[in-house]
Structures are given as C-alpha cells and as structure tokens.
C-alpha cells in the first residue's frame, strides 16, 4: 500500500509539471484559437535562456546568487517577450482567418525555428539548473506505513508553484482589465474588436503570458532533469492532457495533468511488466483517445466542438 501511494504521489507530482506545459497551450488556444505546438519549444528556449544567463552572471560577472537569479529570470522573460512579439508579428498576423489546421502546421514550423535558434544561441548541451529549490528526498506518513512514502521535495515545490500560477492566472483573467479583454477575445473576435479591443495587442499579451508560463515550467523541469533538448518532448505529453481536460479550461489542464501523470506512472509500474515495459510513452495517448470517444469536449471544455 505504501508503495502504491508512493507511485501515485510521484505520478501526481509529475502530472503537475505536465499541467504547467498544458496551461500554456490552453491560454493561447482560449485567446486566439491557435493550437500552439510550439509550447514545448518555448519551454526549452525559456529554460536555456535562464540557465545560460545565470551561468554567465555567476561565473563571469561574479554576481551574487540573490542578484543573478532575478536578473536571469528577467532576461529569460525578455527572450519570451521577443518570441511572443515575433510570433504575433511574423506568423499570426499573416495567417489571420486561415483554418485552424493551417495555423497548427505553422506553429510546427515555429517549433522547429525556436528549437534551432535557441540551441544555436544558447548551446545544446545538458545544463544543470539550480534556482535554489531544495532537492532533498523526504519521507511522509512514516507513522502509517513501514518506511513511509518517499517524496522529492522539489516536486512539492513544483506543485506549489503550479498552484500559485493557476491562482495568479485566475485573478489575472477575472479581475484585471487585460484579463477581461482576453476573455472577450476568446468569446468572439469580431465582437471584441467592435468594442475597441486591439486584437494584435491581445495576441501579443497572451503569447507573452504563455511564454512566462513556459518559463516557470522550464525552470521547474530544468531543475528536476537538467535543461536539455528532451524538454520539448513535454509538449507532446501535454496533448493528451489537453484532450482529457478540454482545450479551453485552465482547471481542466491541471486536473488532466494530474490524471495523466498518475495514470501513466501507475500503469507503468503495475501493468507495464506484463506488457514488456515502457508503456509510459503511449499510455496517455490511448487514455486520451478512449476519452475522446466518450466525451469529446474533455472534462471541463466547452461543448461546442468541431466534429464530423
């Protein structure tokens, strides 16, 4: 039982990280109807910018950690702003009114471009990232089970960060002027434009917010696994999360991430050995596909859905 809970918690915490990536997808999809395949590449670009800036500031300029960390975050945020601006200016604006699937393919192009550019500029090795999050393994519930439940402290911090991010985004969407404009654009582009909301500006802002979410995801994943190219594969893992949670729902991204994370770890540990192992890579997709047949709009998505 202790082992089951340990796997479950490990899966849930991995799921939190999937949610962080899925969150970026949802934000952009809600505001512009674009399915942004480049989210994974943005995570990689943000993490690379962060880790390299941190390295330069600490090693070459001898800044203290307390100063270098915020400065590096600011630098990475600036990089994300640049990407958001370029994506809006050079890609989205030119493809306005095109079919969703054309935009989707365009974001695949953007993905490859960002991946290539980020690795050319910032380097392509595996960089360990230390942003001051503790990494000690800790034992929970030792009184209940023998040996307790092993949890990595970093994962708990990741969960805390994800929670704060969601709360922050909720406030941003509900309470601020820009948030209202974003929701208006999500509801109806033309109507939003007619009441004087500048679409281009909104798209820039939403890509920027998605970029900042990518930065948070990149920082957490990076400190867990090291900053490396395989971070982009996260984007692919976020797709089933989205199908499960619904493309337009922020809480859906979180719950979907938790279900996928826990489900795939449990399946790997308890079903995997009887099927030759390694089922982690497709389990999430199969769950998502089955779910699609029953409830195509996802757990929390809006009912309107393109179907044949």
């Amino acid at each position: 039982m202790g082992f089951f809970i340990e796997v479950l918690i490990g899966g849930l915490l991995a799921g939190v990280l999937y949610s962080l990536v899925a969150l970026g997808f949802v934000l952009i999809f809600k505001a512009s109807g674009v399915f942004n395949f480049a989210q994974g590449a943005m995570v990689l670009a943000a993490a690379l910018a962060l880790v390299r800036a941190l390295e330069v500031m600490q090693v070459q300029w001898h800044w203290p950690f307390g100063l270098a960390l915020p400065a590096a975050f600011a630098f990475a945020a600036a990089v994300m702003a640049l990407i958001a601006w370029a994506a809006e200016r050079l890609v989205l604006r030119k493809l306005v009114n095109q079919e969703g699937i054309i935009l989707f393919m365009a974001t695949i192009g953007v993905t490859f471009f960002i991946e290539g550019l980020a690795q050319t500029v910032f380097g392509a090795d595996v960089y360990p990232l230390n942003i001051g999050l503790p990494k000690e393994p800790i034992f929970l519930l030792e009184s209940l089970f023998e040996g307790g439940v092993l949890v990595n402290e970093l994962d708990i911090w990741a969960a805390v960060i994800a929670g704060l991010l969601v709360a922050g985004l909720a406030v941003f969407f509900q309470r601020t002027r820009i948030g209202r404009a974003l929701r208006a654009v999500a509801d109806d582009h033309a109507a939003a434009q007619s009441v004087g909301i500048a679409l281009n500006q909104i798209w820039f802002i939403v890509w920027l917010v998605a970029g900042l979410v990518a930065l948070a995801a990149g920082a957490v994943w990076g400190s867990k696994l090291g900053v490396q190219f395989s971070l982009t594969l996260l984007a692919l893992k976020a797709l089933p999360v989205l199908i499960l949670g619904g493309f337009t729902s922020v809480p859906g991204a979180i719950v979907g991430g938790l279900i996928i994370g826990a489900g795939e770890k449990l399946a790997e540990v308890f079903l995997g050995p009887s099927m030759g192992g390694g089922i982690e890579i497709w389990f999430a997709y199969v769950v998502a596909l089955l779910f699609l047949l029953v409830r195509p709009q996802g757990l929390f998505g809006e009912r309107i859905i393109e179907r044949v």
């Binding site: 399915f35 050079l90 890609v91 030119k94 493809l95 095109q98 969703g100 699937i101 054309i102 989707f104 393919m105 365009a106 695949i108 192009g109 953007v110 993905t111 490859f112 471009f113 960002i114 991946e115 290539g116 550019l117 690795q119 050319t120 392509a124 692919l236 797709l239 089933p240 199908i243 493309f247 099927m275 030759g276 192992g277 390694g278 089922i279 890579i281 497709w282 997709y285 199969v286 998502a288 596909l289 699609l292 047949l293 195509p296 393109e306 179907r307 044949v308």
Partner: protein, 358 residues
C-alpha cells in the same frame, strides 16, 4: 515560344482525359524518365546513390502517400513515420517467415499490411478531425515506436532490437549494387506514383477533395465520408508502407526502431507542405528539396562561417537546418500554401505566353 498547346486537337475522350494533355509535357516527362533510367546510372557515384538518389526516390513515394491523406483528403497525420515502420517490419516478417518469397514481393505485400493498420488507425477520423485527429495519429506514432521495440515477435526475438534485411535478388541475380537498388526503387516509385496520380484524378480522388474542402457539403452531394476517408487512409498507408519497406530493405539494410521515429513523420510533413499540398509533382519536389538541403548546408555553412571567423560544428549545422525548415514552413504557409508545385505551374503559365505576354 516552344511551350504551346495551339494546334494540338483532342480527337477522342481518351486524349481529352490524358494524364499529360500537352505534348510538350509528355515529352518532358518521358525525357526525364529516360534520363533517370538510362543516363543517371552511368554518371552517379556510389556516394551520390547512397546520399542523394536512393533516399530521394524512396521518400518521394512516402511523401506522395502522405500527400494523398493530407493534401487530397485533408486529414492531418503525424504518424507517417510509424506507418513507414509498419511497412518495414511487415516486409521483414514476411521475408523471415515465408522464406520462399522474393524480398521484392515482400516489399509490395507489406503495403497491404500497412494499409490494414492504416484503416484501423483511420477509424477515429470518422468522429474527429483537425487537432484531435493529429493527436490520434500521434498516438499511432508512439504506439508504433513502442511496438517495434517491445513486442519481441515483431523483431523475431532479436536481442538487440536491430534487424537485417535479406539480400535483394531476383532470378538468381544479385541486385544489391547501388545502381540496381536505385533502379528498383525508381521503378516502384514511378509505377506507384503514376497509379496515385490516376487515383487522385479519378472519382475516388474527387471524393477525397470534396471531403477536404467541406465535409458536410460533400456528404450532401452523396459522398460517403466513411468510404472516402478510410480509402484515403488505406491508399496513403499502402504507399507509405511500401516506401517504408523500401527504406528498410533498399536503403538502410539493417535498422532499429529509431529509424521510424516521430522525426521521420515531421520530415515527411515538411516535404508535403514545402512541395505543395495536393500535388503529386509537389511531393517529389519536396522530397528532393528536403534531402538536398541538409547536404547543401553541411557543405556550405562551415566555409561561410569561417569567412566571418565563426567555427560551425555539425551540431550547429543541424540547428540551422531545423531553423531553416521551420522558417520555410511558415514562409510557404503564409506566402504560397501550394508550395513548390505552384511555383512550377506559375512558371509554366508564364512560359505559355512568353515571349509575347500581351
């Protein structure tokens, strides 16, 4: 001046429906084929065969297959790499388990296995489309990756997971020289490519295009979406499967599941988008472009970098490659969604009026 259709009268329905109605087109196509079959084998070196000609020819067929699905029927697929893998492993298993079959027969039969699997994974397309379908085909890709690696029966219980193709021979002759390999691949690609061209011109192809342009309208005028979509999946998977079997038997020789990873799917998708969605010729142009560009960059970038004092490593070249591919995809989607094939037909239009464009 030379590219005129004036004076070419069509005296029969057969002539009217000819695949290349203009005599000059027929001449160019025949001349091109003659060069490919008769001249190239005398000029090409072993390196040219291995690095350029054989991959281009095989990937052309795979791109045609994907174009049938994406360009003609409008169903986005990110799982084409896995379908190539299905073809490759099907051919391998046929060759291992039915040793009396000629490897070339195995290559062709593997297409039918791929078509069957393609239909199975095409079933979700009846209910979903767009991104959802892309996700479903991604599931096919990851499931394929897993199956090739973990289901031991597929690799005939090879401990390393790497399998070898049988030697290619026919009527007792050894056909494993690069020239013979190239000619075999070229023959299969041209025959199947022409077949595909005829299918997309015929009533099945028109059904696909009707579904692509507007599924509801197509249904109302009597196109059965079930039949149209599944036939597109079947034909596309057949072509991709044969291409995958050729890739494994004629090009790689021995391979691991990584040869058919998601990178291959993206590569094929780039060929289709850059070459031209909904064009057989475009698939070939896209394949040529995507095969040649990395070779060109590998040759050209390091000297260029040296000019400005920047030492460019192989890794950097591959990053540049990915940047250029990404930028080109966006460029073509924005500027010319019909790709290189459209540029070609624009050139032909211009040529018809030249030198007196009124």
């Amino acid at each position: 001046m030379f590219y005129r259709e004036a004076g070419q009268y069509k005296a029969s329905y057969g002539a009217d429906q000819a695949i290349f109605p203009i005599a000059q087109d027929r001449f160019v196509v025949l001349a091109g084929m003659a060069v490919a079959f008769l001249v190239v084998p005398f000029l090409a070196s072993e390196y040219t065969y291995r690095a350029v000609l054989i991959p281009t020819v095989i990937l052309t067929l795979a791109a045609i297959g994907l174009n049938v699905l994406m360009g003609y029927c409008g169903q986005v697929s990110l799982g084409s790499g896995a379908f190539m893998g299905v073809g490759a492993y099907a051919a391998f298993n046929l060759a291992i388990r039915l040793p009396f079959l000629n490897p070339l027969v195995c290559i062709l039969l593997s297409g039918f296995v791929a078509a069957a699997i393609g239909i199975a994974f095409g079933i979700p397309s009846l209910r979903i489309k767009g991104f959802y379908l892309a996700c479903a085909t991604l599931a096919a890709q990851f499931f394929g990756d897993w199956a090739f690696l973990r289901i031991k029966w597929v690799t005939n219980h090879t401990p390393s997971g790497s399998v070898n193709a049988p030697p290619i021979q026919m009527f007792g002759y050894d056909l494993s020289s690069p020239t013979a390999t190239y000619l075999i691949a070229l023959t299969i690609t041209i025959v199947l490519g022409l077949a595909a061209k005829n299918i997309v011109r015929g009533h099945i192809g028109r059904q696909w295009m009707a579904i692509r342009d507007m599924d509801i309208a197509a249904e109302i005028i009597g196109v059965r979406p079930l039949f149209a979509k599944l036939s597109a999946f079947a034909v596309s998977s057949f072509l991709i499967g044969v291409a995958g079997a050729m890739w494994a038997f004629l090009y790689l020789g021995s391979w691991e599941p990584a040869a058919f990873s998601i990178d291959r799917s993206f590569q094929l998708m780039f060929m289709v988008i850059i070459g031209g969605l909904g064009s057989i010729l475009g698939s070939a142009l896209g394949a040529i472009f995507i095969v040649l560009l990395p070779i060109f960059l590998n040759q050209a970038l390091p000297p260029l970098g040296a000019l400005i004092g920047w030492k460019i490593s192989t890794a950097t070249v591959s990053h540049f490659e990915s940047m250029i591919f990404g930028a080109l995809i966006v460029f073509f989607l924005v500027v010319e969604p019909h790709g290189l094939a459209r540029l070609w037909s624009v050139a032909k239009e211009k040529l018809r009026l030249w030198p007196f464009p009124h």
